[in-house]
């Protein structure tokens, strides 16, 4: 088993990060192109705790090295990950746990990501993954499979951070524009109310 871990700080509030996180893999993110689809399978709010639980299916397309393909039998370019996330609005925590659906009899990848506020303007991101090759045979081959996947995690993490920064920046801009638009509409309607009142008087 190999372990990968990574932590980052985003200079955005937890509310902004947890909102933008839902569209981390949208066209604004031009770095994480290995994620080709994200589908929500189930979603519910626990009436007692207020925790929002979401199941998503994430479809990735990433070319595997040739030696790994020949070892595992070819068709591994497209794979699916099952992610369950828990948003706790009281403790302001987002926890996401993911496991690979594809090839799960040969490789086991368990990933946990936690977003927590550091203060009103900063949010921490903690990522850890356990990678275990289950296939029988030589330890040397298992090690090589695990090392390849750890390397992939590392590369995707760097791209993921860059891509998410772009999504955060765009989200902030779009929300600000939306608020401005609503403010202008409010001012306009107030102005017309005043005009109507003036005419009536």
């Amino acid at each position: 088993m190999k372990v990968f871990s990574n932590s980052e700080t985003f200079n955005y509030s937890w509310e902004e990060v947890s909102t933008a996180n839902w569209r981390k893999y949208c066209p604004w993110n031009q770095k994480s192109t290995h994620v080709v689809a994200v589908d929500t399978v189930s979603r519910s709010v626990d009436p007692e705790t207020g925790i929002l639980r979401t199941e998503r299916l994430i479809t990735c397309k990433q070319t595997a090295p040739d030696w790994l393909k020949s070892l595992l039998g070819g068709c591994i370019d497209e794979s699916q990950v099952f992610e369950t996330s828990y948003v706790d609005p009281r403790s302001k925590t987002v926890t996401m746990v993911s496991a690979n659906l594809t090839m799960s009899n040969l490789i086991n990848v368990q990933e946990t990501v936690v977003y927590r506020p550091l203060n009103d303007h900063q949010t921490s991101f903690e990522q850890s993954a356990q990678i275990t090759a289950l296939c029988g045979g030589w330890q040397r081959i298992k090690n090589r499979i695990e090392d390849t996947l750890v390397k992939r995690f590392h590369e995707n993490a760097i791209k993921g951070k860059e891509g998410f920064e772009a999504v955060l920046a765009m989200s902030r801009r779009v929300f600000a524009e939306e608020r401005e638009r609503e403010r202008m509409m409010l001012i306009q309607s107030q102005a017309s109310n005043i005009r109507l009142a003036a005419v009536a008087a």
């Binding site: 589908d39 979603r43 369950t84 496991a99």
Partner: protein, 83 residues
């Protein structure tokens, strides 16, 4: 927004995702979204029925059930039910 793995579900998925994001940022995070029966429920139902067919067709539905089963312990811990 991101794509669906089933192109035929993209249109309804987009509408649902937009609805959800608005609900999440404007209601849920402000403590006003405690019920499941919200304004996005009908869209989710439509999206989900489209997706279910696509998952079944690709044989992913069974894998999902197994993964959900494997995740029970995380659920117990993270839903705050296990002290």
């Amino acid at each position: 927004m991101s794509q669906s793995l089933a192109p035929e579900c993209n249109e309804v998925k987009e509408r649902y995702d937009t609805c959800f994001l608005k609900w999440y940022s404007e209601k849920y995070l402000r403590g006003m979204g405690t019920t499941d029966n919200n304004e996005c429920a009908a869209l989710f139902k439509e999206y989900n029925s489209c997706l279910k067919g696509a998952l079944k067709q690709r044989g992913i539905d069974k894998l999902l059930d197994e993964a959900r089963e494997d995740n029970r312990e995380n659920d117990a811990t993270l839903m705050g039910k296990k002290k």
